[in-house]
Every structure is written in C-alpha cells, then in structure tokens.
C-alpha cells in the first residue's frame, strides 16, 4: 500500500457484503437463541465499557466518553455499549483498515494476542483526541470477530495541550495521529511502542494508563466471547452476529417508511473560525422517500485552509448517528446497519468534507453544529409519527476549558474539565428539559464531583451550579446548564483556554417557536483577590454565574470577558476562570407557558422577574408570587395582538429584510453570502 491515508476504506461505513459462511449460519438460528445471544453480547459490551471507565485516567475515560464495541470478522460494528453514538459507525473504520491492510501482511499480521492502537481522525472520524484500541478474537483457530474500546483521551502532543489546538494551521500541528498500528503481541504490550506513545504527549501516565484500560477490557470481552463460542459453536456465533446487522437494517428502513415523504431543510451557522469571530454556514437538506433518507447539502462554506474547524465527511455521518441512534432509532440496536436507511452526498472541499492536509482538530465543533441541524429537522420530520420525541435540542456548543501544566502532585496534566457533560436537555412537547442532563453526544457520561476533580487537578472550585441565563425559553423551557468558576490552586501556574462556539450566534436553537439558548462566554480575573475574600469568609462572593456581572461582586483584579473559544494563556495561583456549560433549547411559544411554571422558576432562581414580566407576560404579586390569572390572560392577549400589528406578509417582510447584510469582515470565510460555494478544485490530491 502507498504510505498515505486510505481514502477507500473510509467509504465503507455501511455493512460489508455477507459471506457464504455467514449466510449458511444465519439460516439455522432459532429466534429464542438469538434473543439470548443479543442480550449476552450487550452485557459483554457493557462490561467492557464499565471496565474501561474504571481503569482509565483521562477525564473522558473516567466520566464516560467511552464506547466498547464488538465487530464482525469483516469489521462491521454489531454491538456497542455507549452513549457516544458516533462510535456506532466510526469505530469500525480502523477495524476495517486492519482487516484490509494487516490481516494478510506478513510483516504485521493478525494473530491471537495481538492488539492495535489508533487515533488518526481520518479513520476514527472525529479528532485525534479520540483514541482507540482493538484486539482480534480467535476461536477454533479462526478469526471470529474483533472487540475494541474508543475513548476521548485528549492529550496527544499537539501544539496546545488537550489534543484540540485552536491555532493549528495544518495537520502537522495537531500532534500524534496514528493509523491502526500493532502495539501488542502474545497478549503483551510492546514497551518500546508504549514508550514512544508516552513520550509523544505531555501526559504519558494518562496516555499509557488509558491504553492499558482499553486492553484489559478487551481481554475480558475476548474471554467471554470464546466461552460463548465454546458453548454455542462457531457457526452460530458468526450467523447471529450477522443477524444483528440484517435485522437492524430491516427495522431501520421500516421505521423510516413510517415518516411522511418530503424534504426538510435547516441552515446552520457557526460564529468562530480558529479564534477569529467570523461566520460560516452549513446548509442541510434531508430528503425522505419511501424507506430511505438522503442527506445532501445546500450551501456549505469552503474548507478552511489554515483553521481547524474542518471535518472529514465520515465525522458528519458519525455525528448524524448521535441523533439517529439516540433519538429516532432509540428502540433499535445501535450499529452501522442503521446506515442502510441513509444515503449521502457531500460537496467536495467544504468544511464538512475536508481533504488534504488541512487541520481538523476542532472537527467536533463543526460536527455538533451540523448535527444540531439534524435534531431540528428530526423534530419537524417525526412530530406526526412520535410527537413525544419531537424535542428541542440539548446544548450543542461545547463550552469546555482545556489546560496544561503540573498538578499539585507534580504530575504533568493536559486535559479538559468534565463540565461539558453537565449541559441541559432540550424542552419536550410536554415538559421542561432536564437540567444538567449530560452531553447530547455522550448521554451516559457524567461531570464528576468537584472534590474528585480537585483531587488531581490544580483547581479550587468557587461554585458549580445551575444558572438562569443558560437555557432557551418557550412553552416548555430548556433544562438549565451549569455555570462554574475555578481558582488556580496549589500550583504556581497553569495554562488554560476555552473551546466552543456560540458567543455571537447562539449554538443551540429552539423548536416550534421556542427560543435559543443565550450566548455563552468566559470571564477571567488575573491577579484576583478571591482567595483573600475566601479567607475572610466573605459571603458576598458570587455563588452562581448570574451573580458575576453585577456591581455587588467584590472580586477585584484584571477582569476580562472572552469568546467561549479562548486561546491558551498562563494563569497564576489565585487567578480565576468562569465558564458556562449551556442549557437546553426552548419548545413552543413563550406566551403558552403555564404561568405557575414561571413562578416555580422564579422561586428556584431559574427565572428573573424581568423574564416573567417581559418574556412570559405573567401578572403576579412580586412578594407572594401569586399569579393573577385574569390579568395574565389580558397581558397575553395584548401581546398576541401586538404581534399581529408588528407582523407583515412574508413577501413584504422579505422586501426590506433582504436588503440587510452582515458586516463584510465577519464573512471572510463564508464563501459568498448568503449561498456559499465550495473552493475551486485545483486538482490537488485528496
């Protein structure tokens, strides 16, 4: 093979063609045996996920950014335990790479006791911070399947700590990117390779512990599968694994067929490129016809030559599966056979279909920006079929600090904090969203206890709790997000930055008239006197993010507000850093919100008097919070009438609206406003 990336294997996201042996085995499988088999396989995968989490060291691994999969001998992912649904279609590519390139290669080979590591995002699909390990499973002398764990370890020796360098100008600044490589033989990891992988990063302890955690989980799963094959036979195992894929594909297409035929569109906008405040667009179309969906694009900003908000197309398909596995196909097994119901077509050389050597370290931002559009499309497309699941979106804009330096135990640290796993859920057709629900892309993850985080991170948490300006309003409001503040503690310094989007244009939009989540941003105070206030037990210090910005905040120092994407910079002992992990989006018209629910939010601190009076139009006694229902009805009727006075027919509106235009400078990377065109193809290699 040429020593470059393999552009063929990444196209093979749908299941491989069935082998003769699988076809013969499949015919003889009893339905009851198949049900028991599926349950056992799910339990093996779940045990693999839990083992990985309990043994690992990185923030991602400890708090659930983990997928443990069982792959067929051809590399298709048949069973997975995760809330990180993109791994349901992306985790298979490295395995298919191994099958294609190493199985018959005499210098590498695939033998019992081997293990393979990988983190090249071209194969893993998301970004180099996501790393994986898989092992082949043999029985009766034959390769029968693979098992593997994919986890966000983070630190990979990139130009900035944590594996997501904002300032990367090409992939050569994005750190270690390993295509599938053999790292162990004869059930033993190779120490020379562990030394190389550890040395390549700022945090070798975490790198190697995470690899060993994945491998330990794989070995347990390997043993369980071999026990099953010994019990049920090789043919049954092969046939049943394939049957999971065939039944999933059939069920997925049947479920799609229940939706109304039509075309659904959503333009998405992101307000950051590198760390420049510029706007780019992803125009999304999803066509449903018969039992198939087809994803196409209607205007996407050109690929960014020297900024990392690009993604490979496979990452977009992976993130689409976060919606499909978690929300639409929630009642089906999560595996790559779901893709039998989805076709796609990508415009070349755009931010959703990167090629060449452009950086992709912030691909998760462009991917989540995209999939938020799929959530909006999904709600509109599925309301008729299943209104209870036509929900507003969970927070999608990230909002995560990254850091590097030494901790209080003089160990190197380079990671992210776990609060991105504490965002709010979107509002539903019948209730408010859940506060601090998790990350939409990692629904089984957790944000850690602050004490646990403080134990090996040089932070002193000042507060971490819900705040009222974190969610979108609506008939039902989004769940609240989490605001938190930390002071650098126990160490002389730490380098910190922030990742995300949505400081200018909201990251997370509402549905059916619900409002978007407010913008998020960072506050820093260098030279802060907060520790003095703490020593004095000063009770006037802010205890949540809403209280940071008023005159009453006693903290003094060099205060500054920043975009949620903030380049890394040094913080000294005592400096403070405040950030939001956003809440969920709103559902439905604010004027239909139950006035009593507004009062409940006032009591719990999740709404302000301004919101109750001006947004929800509720008349109430501010002392007792008793609602005046008749006066509220009149206020709302007046608001409905004002809308009718303010509104005009669409043609009339467009006449004046279309004459407006964003300032030219923020369109630097847009690619032609309002309908961007891809870059010209100069015949460069893909």
């Amino acid at each position: 093979m040429p020593y470059t990336r393999d552009t063929e294997v990444v196209q093979r996201l749908k299941p491989e063609a069935m082998t003769q042996a699988e076809q013969e085995a499949l015919a003889g499988i009893d339905d009851l045996d198949f049900e028991i088999f599926q349950h056992k396989m799910n339990m093996i995968a779940l045990e693999g996920k839990e083992t990985t989490m309990k043994l690992g060291a990185s923030t991602g691994m400890r708090w659930g950014d983990v997928a443990f999969g069982i792959y067929t001998g051809l590399g298709d992912l048949a069973v997975v335990a995760t809330g990180i649904w993109f791994h349901a279609v992306l985790g298979q590519i490295p395995v298919k790479f191994i099958v294609k390139h190493w199985l018959k290669d005499e210098t590498v080979g695939v033998r019992p006791g081997d293990s393979y590591f990988f983190n090249d995002p071209f194969y893993s699909g998301v970004h180099a911070a996501d790393m994986g390990l898989c092992v082949p499973v043999f029985a009766e002398g034959e390769l029968i399947c693979f098992v593997g764990a994919n986890v966000h370890t983070g630190e990979n020796g990139s130009a900035e700590p944590g594996g997501q360098p904002i300032a990367a100008k090409s992939r050569y600044e994005e750190g270690l990117m390993v295509p599938p490589i053999k790292v162990g033989e004869n059930y033993t990891l190779r120490e020379d390779i562990m030394t190389m992988l550890g040395t390549a990063t700022r945090d070798p302890r975490t790198m190697v512990l995470d690899i060993k955690a994945r491998l330990a989980a794989c070995r347990i799963a390997e043993r369980r599968i071999q026990e099953m094959v010994a019990d049920k036979g090789l043919a049954f195992f092969r046939g049943a694994l394939r049957k999971i894929l065939t039944t999933t594909a059939k069920a997925a297409r049947k479920k799609v067929s229940l939706l109304h035929d039509g075309i659904y569109r959503q333009p998405r906008f992101m307000d950051i490129v590198g760390n420049e405040e510029k706007i780019i667009k992803i125009g999304i179309c999803l066509e449903k016809k018969g039992d198939k969906l087809k994803l196409t694009f209607d205007g996407v900003s050109p690929m960014l030559d020297a900024h990392p908000q690009n993604t490979f197309f496979q990452g977009i398909i992976g993130l689409a599966m976060v919606y499909f596995c978690g929300w639409f196909f929630y009642d089906l097994p999560a595996n790559n056979a779901l893709l039998e119901a989805l076709d796609w077509e990508f415009p070349a050389r755009t931010v959703v279909n990167a090629s060449g050597d452009v950086p992709t370290a912030l691909a998760p931002a462009i991917q989540t920006c995209f999939v938020h559009g799929i959530f909006l499309i999904g709600a509109r497309m599925t309301y008729n079929l299943d209104p209870e699941r036509a929900v507003a979106s969970w927070f999608s804009g990230f909002g995560v600090p990254y850091f590097g330096g030494f901790n209080q135990w003089e160990e190197p640290v380079a990671d992210i904090s776990p609060e991105l796993n504490a965002t709010g859920a979107g509002a539903r057709p019948d209730m408010d969203g859940v506060s601090g629900a998790g990350a939409f892309f990692a629904t089984m993850s957790d944000c850690s206890d602050v004490e646990t985080t403080e134990a090996d991170r040089p932070f002193l948490y000042l507060f971490r709790n819900y705040f009222k300006h974190s969610y979108g309003a609506g008939k039902y409001r989004g769940g609240a997000g989490v605001g938190f503040g930390v002071s650098i503690h126990h160490v002389p310094w730490l380098a910190m930055g922030g990742l995300g989007y949505g400081s200018k244009y909201p990251a997370t939009l509402g549905i059916f008239g619900g409002y978007a989540v407010p913008p998020g941003f960072i506050q820093t105070v260098h030279g802060s006197d907060v520790k003095k206030h703490l020593a004095d037990s000063d009770r006037s210090l802010p205890v949540n993010l809403d209280q940071l910005y008023g005159e009453a905040n006693p903290e003094k120092g060099n205060r500054a507000l920043h975009n949620i994407t903030m380049g890394i910079k040094p913080f000294l002992n005592g400096d403070t850093f405040y950030m939001p992990a956003g809440g969920g989006a709103g559902y439905g018209d604010v004027l239909e919100r139950d006035p009593q629910a507004v009062m409940d939010d006032l009591r719990s601190g999740l709404a302000s008097r301004w919101m109750a009076e001006n947004l929800y139009k509720v008349a109430f006694d501010p002392e007792t919070l008793v609602v005046d229902l008749e006066a509220t009805k009149q206020l709302r009727q007046k608001a409905f009438e004002e809308r009718k006075q303010r509104g005009v027919p669409m043609a009339e509106f467009e006449e004046t609206w279309s004459k407006q235009h964003p300032p030219r400078d923020i369109l630097k990377y847009f690619g032609g406003y309002p309908h961007p065109k891809p870059k010209m193809d100069f015949g460069l290699p893909m």
């Binding site: 039509g262 569109r265 906008f269 300006h469 008239g513």
Partner: protein, 108 residues
C-alpha cells in the same frame, strides 16, 4: 381530514392547505412554504435576551451583526408557529416541504 405536522401546524387534506393547529386558520397552499401564510416580524433581540453586561463585547444577548430573530405568527390568533435565527438578510428557510401527493395517498 387534517394531518398534524408540528406543534402548531396541520395540513387540511381536503383543502390542500396548511392550517394553524390552534385556531384552524387556513394559511397557504400545502405545496408552498407555510411561512408564506404567516405574519412575519423581526423580534428585537433585547425583548428576549437581557445582556447583563452592557458595554462589554460579550453578554447573554446574540450579536446583531451575526444574528437576528425572525418570527412567524398565525395571522388570526397570533401564536408563534416558528422562529428562525438568521444572519441579517439571509433568506428565509423552506424547512418543511411535504410531498403532498404521497401524503394524500398514504392517508387514503
């Protein structure tokens, strides 16, 4: 016969029109963008988002250079059927384009 499409929208198969689910108002031909049957207005950002950081480059209110809110109301009852967050002047989205013939076939 009416088919529910969203929280606030139905399609009347007999009339082949979009309707407001709350008040029954006929909006526009069901093959068209339902937004053409709505009243449309730009909602001032400050009516939804208190910034809390006046005079600062960042706050809890979207930046009007990047984002505006366009709202779509039922012309009869005034309920907000949908909204869009768009950069200034960006074309309105035809977000739901139902295949009406297929819908009628499946309903009958």
């Amino acid at each position: 016969m009416k088919i529910r499409i969203t929280e606030y929208l139905e399609i009347d198969l007999d009339q082949k029109k979009w309707c407001c689910q709350r008040c029954g108002q006929m909006l526009v031909d069901a093959r068209e963008n339902y937004k053409k049957g709505c009243l449309v207005a730009e909602k001032p950002l400050e009516e939804v988002y208190p910034a809390l950081t006046e005079g600062q480059p960042y706050g809890f209110r979207p930046d009007p250079n990047f984002c505006r809110i366009v709202e779509f109301y039922c012309p009869a009852c005034g309920v907000m059927i949908e909204n869009e967050y768009l950069p200034p002047g960006h074309p309105i989205t035809h977000d739901i384009q139902i295949d009406l013939d297929a819908l009628i076939r499946s309903a009958t």
